[in-house]
Every structure is written in structure tokens, then in C-alpha cells.
Subunit: 411 residues, 2 copies
């Protein structure tokens, strides 16, 4: 008898038939005696349909009214799922975010959860009902409908699990778990049985987008065990949890993330004086361009090179901006490249194993892949390489760190 | 400077373009300095789409969940209309039924309004905002979403007008007012400038379905002036109001209603003893058939004939039931006809004018139309005739009561 919060995304509830399949699945869990709270998204396509109409109404639709509009998407799903459950003689009760209540601040379209009333849900669970909650939405102190921003249903699931002290928050998706790397690149990529919150955050932000980063952060903060599973295939999925105390059993590297969405810019021959970094980066940020990796080389003869990466879509804008900066700072030039890729190895095992980075560099050198940038954190090493070597690099690293073997951690 | 509650139905907000037209219209009223509260329905087709999905989920969908589902329809419209208004630099704020709050009982799918909080709306109006409210929906004491049943948006409009003590509740539709009779039958049918609540109720229940009966009753009860207008054509429409004190200016007959949806049944030679009427009608009502007109002839030799009308769809069921009743009561027989029509003249002027009924019968006699049944109330006379004479009868009466002339009441 466990309490599970199960979140089903837009694709999992994308049609009448899919919602019925979800109802079958939820009922089977309840029939095993578990307490179930279900969080659902809008049926896939619905949110975009609504946003499309909004954009026809107003250039920049009012955020308050946008929330009133798009929150109807999940409201439709909760009602339909409850009907499907009731039709299966599984008592169920739906709640909008405002009905739960999920209290948020008043930042429409990107509100943050402040607290959650659990009394109604507990009361329903005690009566044997499945509780079905609209994801992605809440209510502010003045009764205004708010939304948490796209993908916010994962956050709702985790927040409910934390508030209800659930045994597990299960995120049902269209993948059967988190893999050592993208199976489209490496044939024998392995499903991970477990991964830590920190590793998951590094994997997610590096481009392995299975879960919303915000939900993982939230789960980590409140210690909510999070499991990624496939909505319609059986299997244990991947458990995202706190770091195991027995790190001996942890693999050194859990996964390899990669990202083709970046571009690299360098301003060369900048006078190396205090404050120069902010003089370079402030105009970039003023142009609304987000910066990812930042490297500054050791100064030579009072001049330094300064390199950073941005999203590839922002490359042109960033380069134009940087050229102006170069003139203003009397730098020798501004150059860049948008045919780069970032490859990262991620693993908490790095903490207790020396030489991980050099094994990575060695592996790439053997394949004659030149490393253009390096950046490291406690549990990851990222390199920027020429985009054309991306697949080769990922496969080489996957093999070097022996990630091809099925994991031995107990299910 | 007046306070108007304006209600726009599903067809009036049936597309993005239509909603934009409504926004233009609402803004023009506000620009004249009026305070405006708008009540909207779901975009036409949306409620049926939602109900269709519900029926796929469950044979008889849970009423509570049905309300959660269909109430999203109006919620979409309020948000879109507010965006369209804001885009026109007309400040606006949307409210769901639960946000207003419109308090109802807990009879899901057919809830009744208990009271309405006006503070938020007043506050918005004072700030120069147009208030946009979702029709058809409310909230019960436990925070459950309720709906008022189909057509309930008219009721919402009237209830808000009553609560806010509005100067007028304007119902925008796809007709430009209430006519003396159906213009498809009588070419020179005239738009009425005014009609009383009582007349409107008789007209509506007799088949001239412009407004929901419930909304008219509600408006009459609280003395809310109600005006029916065309959503997209200019014109004063028809004002539905309390009876003018100067009845001299009232036309004798305001309108002619008719109805082809009925069938007539007669049980003949029934022993005329106390309680026989209920012995006849109880089995009919037990079969879930609603009865409209009821006539009992004077008894001859202790036997009487008993005639009533039912909806034509129920004719077969009612006749079968009546045949059993006839056997049980030792009546001589049960007969009926489903090719009848009901024609009614309606007008508060009848009260002060004698001989209205005989003028009606005389007019029909001149056309050789046989009257099969007669029923009267204080402000109407209804006759049942052979269906094939319907158009002839309506035209004759329209001319007899001089309804072909444009009305002279001041606009």
C-alpha cells in the first residue's frame, strides 16, 4: 500500500482512446491497493490550438487572460479521465489547480507554487477515490487562475508528491526511462535503473530532455523519489533519487549528453583589465541572448581571448553585438562558429574516481577529435568539438566508460 | 451613463472573427460612457464537441465531471474576448462563474443560482474596466463547478443584471427582436417594440423560442428590463418589460404563436367519477410523457370524453398507454391524431378588451377552419386545428387583429 502521484503528459492523454488506456492503468494500480493521485496535462495539440486563437486576438495576449484560456486544456482532461475511471467502477474526483488549492504567486504564465492544501485530496484518498488534478495550474491570493509555464505539469506532480509525502512521483512519458545516451546515436545505449537528481539535472540541461529541469530541482530539494516510465509499455523505468550511500556500486559515468544547439564566439586580443568580462557580456545579455559556457584564456602581454557559447538561434545577433564590443574595447577582433557541438560526460562517480577527464580527452584524441573548449563541474566534463565529430565522439566515450553493459543495480 | 449587462450567445462568439466583432460592439458602448458587463456562451459547436467526448468516456457521464468539462467552453470565450478588448485599448477583466462568485445549489448540470457577489465586478467597473463573465456556470458551497443547464447564459445575464441593479439586460441573438409572429409564415409580421414578461412567457412556451423561459421568468421576478437585439445588425430590438400602466396604448394582441410539435389523444366514454382524471393522466406521466393542454367535456349519461395533447415524439407511447387505460377504466375507446397544430393569440390587452376570443373564432370560421380544442388563460387563447390549416389560420388572425402595421409605441 503506497501513495503514488502519477503524471501523464499531453501525448499520453492525447485522444479519447489514450485517456481510456490511462484509466485502465490507473485502475490497475488502485486495484493493487495503492492510493493514487493523477496529474494530467492538456490533450496534445490543445494548448497550441488555444494559444493560436489568443494570438489572433492580441499581439501579446494579456498574461492573466492567457492563463484563463490555456488552463481549460487540463480541465477538460481531468473531467474526461474521471468519467473514464468512474465508467470502470473506480471512484474518482477531479480538481482544477484552483480547487485543490495549489497556491502560487501572481506571475501569470510562469507562476511559482507557494503551498498546497492537501485536506481535500487526503479526504478523497481515504474514501477510496482516485484524485485527478489538473497539472500546470494554480490560483493566486486573489483567486486569479495562474499557470506554471510549459511543462509545468511535471512540477505539479512533484509538488503534490512532496505535499502529500508520496512514496514516489511517477512521470509517464513516451520513453521508457533515462538512457546512458541517445539510442539514435549509440545503438547499445542502456536504460539507467537509477540516476541521481544532480546527474539528471546535468543530463537535462545538456539536452537529454525527458523531464522538466524545474521538476527535477523541486524533487531533489524535497527528496521526492521520481520515476520516469513509459505510459503504455510495461517496465520499471528509471528512478531518479538521492545519491546512494554506497557509491562503490555507482558507475563512474551515468550518461553522455550532447547538444547541437550552440554556437561559439570569441573576442580576441582584449586588454586584460578588471571588469572586462562584464563589459563583454552585459551587451550580450542586454540583447536578450543567454550565454552558456564562458572561458577566458590566460593573459599574454596584457591581452586575453574571451570565448563563450550561445544558442545557435542567437548566433547572428550575438556576433553583431560582439563586433561592436570589440571596437569599443579596442580588441583585435570578434570571431565565431556555429558548426560546433557540446558533448558532456555526467556522473556522481567522478567525485570518487580520479582521472576521469583525462580518460575522456584521451578517448577523443585516439579518434583524432580536436577539443575546442573544456568546462568542468563536480560531476560533469563538457567539451566543445566540431559538429561533424559528434556521433563519433559520443560512441567512443560510451565505449571507453563501459556504458554498453546492462546495469547491475538491483531493480 | 447606464449600466448594461450584455449577453452574447454561442453563434455571436462562434469564431475568432465574431469575437472581434463583439469586442468592437462592446467597446463602442463603453466609449459612450456606459458601464458594461458582458456575459458570453461557449463558441458555437464547442459544448457539443465536449459532450461528444464525454459520451465516449461513460454512458451516463458523471454530472459533477460534466460540469467541470463543459464549463471550459465559456472560460475559453471570456479569455479571448478580454484579449480582443484589451487589443482595442478597452480595459477588461474576465471572471469564471466561480470567480464572480455566482453561488448555486449543488444540482450539477441544472443548478439554480442562489446569490451573486458583486464586489469584484463593481470594483472593476469603477476602474473603467469592462467585466466579462462566463455564462451558464457557477460554484456550489464546496467549491464544485456547477452549470445552469443549456441556455443558462441568458439566466446568468439576467441574474447579474438583477444583482448589479443594471439599467437593462441586453440579449444579443441572431434575430433583431420579437415578432408578432413567425415572418416565415406571415410576410408582414412586425417587430414588437415592447412586450410584457407575461406575454413573452406565453410566446416562448408556445414555440417562439427567442429567449430561455427561465431567464424571462427571472427577469420578470426581479423587474429587470430585458432587450432582445441582433448581435451584428443595428436596431433597437424588442424591450421586454413590466406591463405599461397606460394599457390604452397597448395593442390588444401582441403576438401569434404556433406549434406543430403536438399530438392529440382522446379517451372516450369514460365513467365520469371523481378521480378519473388522475387515473388517466398518472399512467401517462409514469411513462415520462409530458402533457400540455387538457380538456374534459361535460358529462352525458354519466360518461365523459377526456382529451389532452402531448409532444408529437411521444404520440405512439402515449396512445399505447391510453389504450391500456381505456381497458382498465371500461372506457369505450382511445383515439388520437398527430396531424394537428396549436395556434395561440397572446396579449395583455385582452384583459381590458372583451370579445377577443370570439373575434378569433369568427376569423377562423370565415376561413372554414374547424376548431378541435380550445384553451384559454388570462392573456392568451389557444386553439388546436388541423395542421394543414396552420399557415392560413396564422395569416387570418394576424390580419384580423391588425398586427400588420408598424407599431406606434415610441422608441
Amino acid at each position: 500500500m503506497a501513495l503514488y502521484v502519477q503524471k501523464y503528459g499531453g501525448t499520453s492523454v492525447g485522444s479519447v482512446e489514450r485517456i481510456q488506456q490511462v484509466a485502465d492503468k490507473v485502475k490497475s494500480f488502485r486495484d493493487q491497493g495503492h492510493y493514487i493521485v493523477v496529474v494530467v496535462s492538456a490533450m496534445s495539440g490543445e494548448t497550441n490550438r488555444l494559444i493560436g486563437m489568443a494570438n489572433e486576438m492580441q499581439d501579446k495576449p494579456s498574461p492573466r487572460e492567457m492563463d484563463v484560456l490555456v488552463s481549460t486544456g487540463e480541465q477538460v482532461t481531468i473531467a474526461l479521465l474521471c468519467m473514464a475511471l468512474t465508467a470502470r467502477e473506480c471512484p474518482a474526483r477531479s480538481y482544477t489547480g484552483g480547487q485543490v488549492k495549489i497556491h502560487t504567486d501572481s506571475s501569470h504564465t510562469k507562476a511559482r507554487i507557494q503551498n498546497i492544501d492537501v485536506d481535500n485530496m487526503r479526504n478523497d484518498l481515504d474514501k477510496g477515490r482516485v484524485v485527478v488534478v489538473a497539472g500546470f495550474q494554480g490560483v493566486d491570493d486573489n483567486g486569479n487562475i495562474t499557470t506554471l509555464g510549459r511543462g509545468g505539469s511535471d512540477t505539479t506532480g512533484v509538488a503534490l508528491a512532496a505535499a502529500l509525502k508520496a512514496d514516489e512521483c511517477q512521470i509517464y512519458t513516451d520513453v521508457d526511462g533515462v538512457y546512458t545516451t541517445d539510442p539514435r546515436v549509440v545503438d547499445n545505449a542502456q536504460r539507467l535503473k537509477e540516476i541521481t537528481f544532480e546527474e539528471m539535472l546535468e543530463m537535462a540541461s545538456l539536452g537529454s530532455k525527458v523531464l522538466q529541469i524545474r521538476a527535477v530541482e523541486f524533487a531533489g530539494k524535497y527528496g521526492v523519489p521520481l520515476r520516469v516510465l513509459h505510459s503504455f509499455k510495461e517496465g520499471p523505468g528509471t528512478l531518479i533519487t538521492i545519491e546512494s550511500e554506497n557509491t562503490m556500486e555507482q558507475p563512474i559515468i551515468s550518461g553522455i549528453a550532447f547538444n547541437r544547439d550552440e554556437a561559439k564566439l570569441t573576442i580576441t586580443g582584449v586588454p586584460d583589465v578588471p571588469g572586462v568580462a562584464s563589459k563583454i557580456l552585459c551587451p550580450i545579455s542586454d540583447a536578450n541572448v543567454e550565454v552558456d559556457m564562458i572561458l577566458q584564456n590566460v593573459s599574454a602581454e596584457g591581452l586575453t581571448d574571451f570565448t563563450f557559447t550561445v544558442h545557435r538561434n542567437d548566433y547572428g545577433l550575438a556576433l553583431d553585438t560582439l563586433k561592436h564590443v570589440a571596437v569599443n574595447l579596442n580588441a583585435t577582433g570578434a570571431i565565431g562558429s556555429d558548426n560546433i557541438a557540446k558533448v558532456s560526460i555526467v556522473g556522481v562517480g567522478m567525485r570518487s574516481h580520479a582521472g576521469v577527464a583525462s580518460r575522456m580527452f584521451d578517448s577523443l584524441a585516439k579518434e583524432n577529435i580536436n577539443i575546442q573548449m573544456i568546462s568542468t563541474s563536480e560531476i560533469k566534463v563538457s567539451v566543445v568539438i566540431d559538429e561533424k565529430y559528434l556521433e563519433l565522439a559520443v560512441r567512443a566515450l560510451h565505449s571507453t566508460f563501459e556504458m554498453d553493459k546492462p546495469q547491475t543495480v538491483e531493480e
